[in-house]
Amino acid sequence: MINKKVNSVEQALEGIQDSMTIMLGGFGLCGIPENSIAELVRKNVKDLTCISNNAGVDDFGLGLLLHKKQIKKMISSYVGENAEFERQMLSGELEVELTPQGTLAEKCRAAQAGIPAFYTPAGYGTEVAEGKEVKVFNGKPHILEYAFEADFSIVKAWKGDEAGNLIFKGTARNFNPCMCGAAKITIAEVEELVPAGELDPNQIHIPGIFVQRIFQGEKYEKRIEQKTVRKRE
């Protein structure tokens, strides 16, 4: 067993510097690497390019980095929940590359899987296709999209073991598996870190080969963005 365990979030995030490109898992506030984001704020690294489906809310998730103006560029599919984000974008302080969600996921997966580029129908005939190569397959136009190139990928899983194997829970899975192994170094934070051998190999979602560093997050707030409930009959 190759041990991937590190003892602290500080150790896990060692080597992250100004101007780097970082992938962060999560959909909305669901499945985000909370502890690592807090450490990025503390480290105060600047001019980051962040690849993440959303940009958090004003006072949580990536919103915390935006608030301190640590992000130079965001690559996301939907940023509607964050007023500070919209302000920085419309004023030109923040560079934004809006990418269709499926394309965003595939650009991660392609990077993970050693596929440099791929064609997708998503975005054809829209602003997203501007300047991109178009090719027709079976009578339908597709646009050429490239795999991401990132320095670090930071994901959050439910359970993990010292070998870096990961299991996700519910819809907190989202972009996290696609981002594992999609950057030069992948950091996984987990709610529960167990010794190798305790997780059933049949149940592993992401094999440890895609993860270089793993640690157990100190605490998880797991904030709910839109609490919606129904009345008991």
Partner: protein, 218 residues
């Protein structure tokens, strides 16, 4: 009388067929899940990674790790499954999802749709909408016929940045059901008490009107 949002959702629910896998967008489309016709089985896909989505949880039973694409807390039904975002959009682009219902700011008579951006004003992003409209075989749009200023959102040509081209098949508004044909919008049904003239007046695009136009049935 023009329909409210629930009326639009109820009318769209009639388009659901037994065995359909359905993706519901945010807003009016989400309401469709409440009006599934009796005797048919459909399964809802949410692009953040769940198939077999159930109703909202009871108070106190919400789970931060279980949400839909609108970031609302949800539950799952028997037979549900979770998957990552790449597989979710594989399901969508691979045409395994039978029906997509989504909202729009504008729809044009050639089936173009705009629903993600108002230049200089609002940029929320396209989310999964561009992937959905580029691939789905059957797309129904749930929207209001006119904007708050009374201007038609059913147009000859979209004025806002597009989400997808030539993809919408059907539009259900508070006034009418329209089908997108090779010749343009065809008026299929009227909302109860709404006249053909009312609909024509509220529509910038030309309408193909053949014979008597029936009222919507619920």
């Amino acid at each position: 009388m023009a329909l409210d949002k629930i009326g639009i959702a109820k009318r769209i629910a009639k388009e659901l067929k037994d065995g359909y896998f359905v993706n519901l967008g945010i807003g009016i489309p989400t309401l469709v899940a409440n009006y599934i016709p009796e005797g048919i089985n459909v399964e809802f896909q949410s692009e953040n990674g769940v198939l077999g989505m159930g109703p909202f949880p009871y108070e106190g039973e919400e789970d931060a790790d279980l949400i839909n694409a609108g970031k609302q807390t949800i539950t799952t039904l028997k037979g549900a499954s979770f998957f990552d975002s790449a597989m979710s959009f594989g399901m969508i682009r691979g045409k395994h999802v039978d029906l997509t219902i989504l909202g729009a700011m504008e729809v044009a008579e050639n089936g173009d749709i705009a629903n993600w951006k108002i230049p200089g004003k609002m940029v929320k992003g396209m989310g999964g909408a561009m992937d959905l409209v580029a691939s789905a075989e059957n797309i129904i749009v749930a929207m209001m016929h006119v904007n708050k200023a009374g201007e038609s959102k059913i147009l000859k040509k979209c004025t806002l940045p597009l989400t997808g081209v030539k993809c919408v098949k059907k539009v259900v508004t508070e006034l009418a059901v329209l089908e997108v044909t090779d010749q343009g919008f065809k008026l299929l049904e009227r909302a109860p008490g709404v006249s053909v003239e009312d609909i024509v007046k509220a529509t910038e695009a030309e309408l193909i009107i053949e014979g008597d136009i029936p009222e919507m049935q619920f």
